[in-house]
């Protein structure tokens, strides 16, 4: 009985996640089309609403190509790992008070551990493909992800200093007086830019720079292998946006402390905020030109790292001297 209950809970997490990933791809195409004054997909279903399902089906019935020069076992494992890790982080994200699959008291550490493992999927795919484009794309992608992971880690420590807990629910509840995005506003902006780079999104989408590297590390993958990478990446995007919401925009807490706002379910508040940030991702993608690789590394190591380190010293000093520690 207990296990059936657990498995039901898992299904309730995974299936909406996959649906939201599918509709995120549709939203991306629609919003970019609107920005470029096109219509976007509008043939399959009303307003193109069935387009993601059609895309998924198309990818499913394509032929799986296993390159002759690749290391087969690693080649097959890489997309599975990426997708698996993309799902795994979701079991600790609270969507409302008590609405969480597993309320770990060291949630932030668990999340950092899982998201660090994401690099393995990329490195493995690039190495196992034994193709020059895939290899170069994987190297770039991995270097970029680990560079920005450092600044993300330092930024999260700032939040922890203010919240005084590693548990996501407690971090959100610590923001009842004021969302951390307001006193920590510069850090919020830095976090947003860092997650753009961490998820390999434009303007930092160098790993898949179409003009030079074709598609980066997943160039040798077809059919479901490619689809799993795609799903994993987009699930990761949604995850990073919900992290930004939890850390800086008050999670499921309503906009103001007005009674009327508390009638709206917490999940809707959470979803609205995440959607807003995801819209920002798409907006940035259609507005900004791509960074050069040396500029990207300079931004990560020479701007964000010293700045976030300095903010830790500033904030810990302020909190200690004003006796504001939680």
């Amino acid at each position: 009985m207990y296990f059936i209950y657990i498995i039901l809970k898992i299904i309730v997490i995974i299936i909406p996640l996959l649906i939201s990933v599918a509709y995120l791809t549709l939203a991306e195409r629609k919003v970019m089309a609107a920005i470029q004054r096109r219509k976007g997909p509008n043939v399959v279903g009303i307003f193109g609403l069935l387009q993601p399902l059609a895309d998924g089906l198309k990818l499913f019935i394509k032929e799986t190509i296993l390159p002759s020069s690749s290391n087969l076992s690693i080649f097959i494992l890489a997309p599975i790992l990426t997708f698996f890790l993309g799902l795994l982080s979701w079991c600790i994200i609270p969507l409302g008070e008590g609405l969480v699959y597993s309320d770990l008291n060291i949630g932030v550490l668990y999340l950092l551990a899982i998201s660090s493992l994401g690099v393995y999927g990329i490195i493995m795919s690039g190495w196992a493909s034994n193709s020059k484009y895939a290899f170069l794309g994987a190297l770039r992608s991995a270097a970029q992800m680990i560079s920005y992971e450092v600044s993300i880690g330092l930024i999260i420590i700032n939040v922890l200093l203010c919240a005084g807990s590693l548990n996501f629910t407690e971090i959100v509840l610590a923001q009842q007086a004021i969302w951390f995005g307001i006193p920590l506003f510069p850090i919020f902006i830095m976090f947003y830019i860092s997650i753009l780079a961490e998820t390999n999104r434009a303007p930092f989408d160098l790993p898949e720079a179409e003009a030079e590297l074709v598609a980066g590390y997943n160039v040798e993958y077809s059919a479901m292998g490619f689809a799993l990478f795609f799903l994993g990446e987009y699930a990761n995007m949604i995850l990073m946006c919900s992290l930004a919401v939890i850390f800086f925009l008050g999670g499921w807490l309503p906009l103001f402390n007005i009674n009327l706002f508390f009638w709206i379910p917490s999940v809707i508040w959470f979803g609205l905020k995440v959607t807003l940030l995801l819209f920002g991702f798409i907006w940035v993608r259609s507005s900004f030109p791509r960074y050069r690789y040396d500029q990207l590394m300079r931004l990560g190591w020479k701007v964000f790292l010293p700045l976030s380190l300095a903010y830790i010293i500033l904030f810990s000093g302020l909190l200690i001297s004003l006796n504001w520690l939680p």
């Binding site: 657990i6 296993l66 079991c91 550490l109 190495w127 190297l139 680990i146 330092l154 790292l305 830790i312």
Partner: protein, 121 residues
Amino acid sequence: MKLIFNEYLVIFIFFILAFILATIIYMLSYILVFQKSDQEKVSAYECGFNPFEDARITFDIRFYLVAILFLIFDLEISFLFPWSIVLLNISLFGFLTMMIFLIILTIGFIYEWFKGALEWE
């Protein structure tokens, strides 16, 4: 039955199910769909040319350097995590100790910067 570490047990179940799901999706497509591979399909992609050598011979040493730098700073972050949580209990002494550590680290960082370890020219 009282389960110890209940939170971790449910995560473990999630682990297994997520892995099975990913494997099933991948394998189903491979098994159900008609496969017909030939020489050209399974050779490595290189913009229409035949791949002329192994792809793994050389790569830029700077990627290695980035990995080393990442190790240093990630260790430092894992050191800062517990500190940021218990800062209230360890008071001024703990705060100052960490500041000394950070100063040493910053000196190292400045050295790296002037040595050009962070350059990508």
